[in-house]
Subunit: 334 residues, 2 copies
């Protein structure tokens, strides 16, 4: 369960400011999560509590609630659905922890026998199915349909990503499509639900959803950038995993497309070896070609697009916070 | 993807007789499955098609459709939901294929690198989310709520089962509770949906659902029995896996509770070693104690209870077929 982390004190400070206006609802979301994610069987309860014990950034519930506040007013459905999207996010994190053969061969001594693959798969499924059940307790099929469609696109995006690992020819366009599916779709879904259940008109729902989509793309570009050049201490997770899996991300794609033809073969070879020891050398090439700056600039571009989607919303503190969240997404170092 | 098997010619013959009255709807279910389970990305399409390519027994769609016919008449929702329950079943099969560390260490040479754990997890999630999306295209939240709740109980049952592996003290009562959750709940759900969408009154819905629950328990008892004493050729899957995992099933529990005190320690030791080589010796003990016959008798008891649930339904060919399906569940050898 490596990826479910408690945010650092600094990050908590930033988030607590951003989340000021939705604090009461976020507390209710925590209550729903801790009430729903339990089991009357002590050993199962232990697994569920352990697997969901850390707070994380609660970015998706916050997006849903802020999108709701910025488009109208919050209702009970918002709290329920904010818990639903967090459960779905938790499910994907738990499933990310399932190791494949190669990884296990390398990590065989560090994998805790208690939290083996079987348990992770079942816990993730437990979270997924619980999320869908909870979504179905709302009034209509709207939430189920929206969440079902979005999570299916997320899974398709993740499947597509696994098929591109090792593909050194992955285009920027395909990279962005995958990012949109695997990350931005759920952010768009959160914002869409927030606006819809606040009673916004279809046009506003679409715009707020597009805000989430663009923010999600920016978020993932920055996440990939942090994986390359971030600090493990700050992010609290293992980095360099994309390189190890030979998974091309935006700075690498930019460097590949902008390196001089005589150096390209050597650079491709460095990536193909996909070994931790090549990380420093690859980073040097990236910095020389301004590739991290390019990726950061692209993330900023998506934040600008997100901002533009908010333009026609009435002024409100929640609207300002959505804007601040978009800015936070590109400025964060964790 | 070891567990998704094409039924044998003999079994196909039996099923084709049983499924006679729902053949047109089952064909529509196949069309829905093959239409829905696709992707516009060729490599993803390849994974999805491969992972869902075999027919299996289609037991759950058949239950749903027959329960519908026996309680009223079939509608479009029945076909949709029959496809949904099969997708959920496929998702759990694909996730069953995810191997944990110990299994991988033993199977490292047989695991196909193309279908690694990551792909299996994502494909299963893709099937789950698609199933939930499809369920949400029906009119009300009834199907989503029913399926969400049932699948959550299934996952909890599976989690509970993993925590009991190696527990040689597992009681018959707890074994049956786990079987009810992990297998019978989805069968009950199929029958409930079938009856509800045929317009049956709440009492009939409950009775037909109880039919499915009892049939599901009988089904799993027999499945566990086949794992102990079945033929790999007939069932088309690896057997003896429960023993290898030190997972107690009904015949083993019966033997443990009925073996003479002086032999009990040795028998427990045999099970604890949980090795393929002990299988023959364990089987001998079971046969001596009539434990397989006891398990078979218990399965028959649940079939009788299932039958009793049908009592008040109007006579119809579908009712007869439900009865025949219950009988098939205990008489099958595959």
């Amino acid at each position: 369960m490596s990826q479910i982390r408690e945010p650092s004190a600094d990050l908590k400070q930033v988030l607590s400011t951003l989340y000021g206006s939705i604090q009461p609802e976020l507390c209710q979301v925590e209550d729903v999560l801790s009430g729903e994610l339990s089991s009357s069987y002590p050993k199962v309860e232990e697994i569920v509590r352990h697997g969901t014990r850390f707070g994380g950034k609660r970015l998706r519930p916050a997006l849903l609630l802020l999108a709701g506040q910025a488009s109208g007013s919050l209702s009970k459905a918002h709290v329920t659905l904010a818990a639903v999207v967090e459960m779905i996010h938790l499910a994907t994190l738990v499933h990310d922890d399932v190791l494949d053969e190669a990884t296990i061969r390398r990590h065989v001594d560090t994998v805790n026998a208690r939290w083996n693959n079987e348990t992770s798969v079942l816990l993730g499924d437990f979270l997924f199915t619980h999320a869908f059940y909870l979504a179905s307790t709302t009034e209509s099929t709207y939430a189920c349909r929206t969440i079902g469609r979005a999570t299916n696109i997320v899974c398709e995006g993740e499947l597509r990503q696994t098929t591109t690992c090792g593909d050194l020819q992955l285009s920027e366009e395909n990279y962005l499509e995958i990012v949109e599916a695997k990350t931005a779709e759920l952010c768009a879904c959160c914002c869409q639900l927030g606006a819809y259940y606040a009673g916004a008109n279809p046009e506003t729902v679409k715009r707020v959803s597009d805000f989430g989509r663009n923010l999600g793309i920016a978020f993932q570009i920055v996440d990939d950038l942090l994986d390359l050049e971030g600090s493990e201490e700050m992010t609290g997770k293992s980095l360099g995993t994309d390189l190890t899996k030979c998974k091309l991300t935006l700075p690498l794609i930019h460097a590949r497309d902008n390196i001089s033809p005589e150096k390209r073969q050597y650079f491709l070879e460095l990536m193909r070896r996909s070994n931790h020891s090549e990380r420093a050398e690859i980073l040097n090439v990236l910095v020389e070609l301004d590739s991290p700056a390019y990726a950061h600039g692209q993330a900023q571009l998506y934040v600008d697009r997100a901002t533009a989607c908010l333009f026609q919303l009435e002024e409100s503190p929640a609207k300002d916070t959505l804007q601040a969240m978009a800015d936070f997404v590109v400025s964060r170092n964790a």
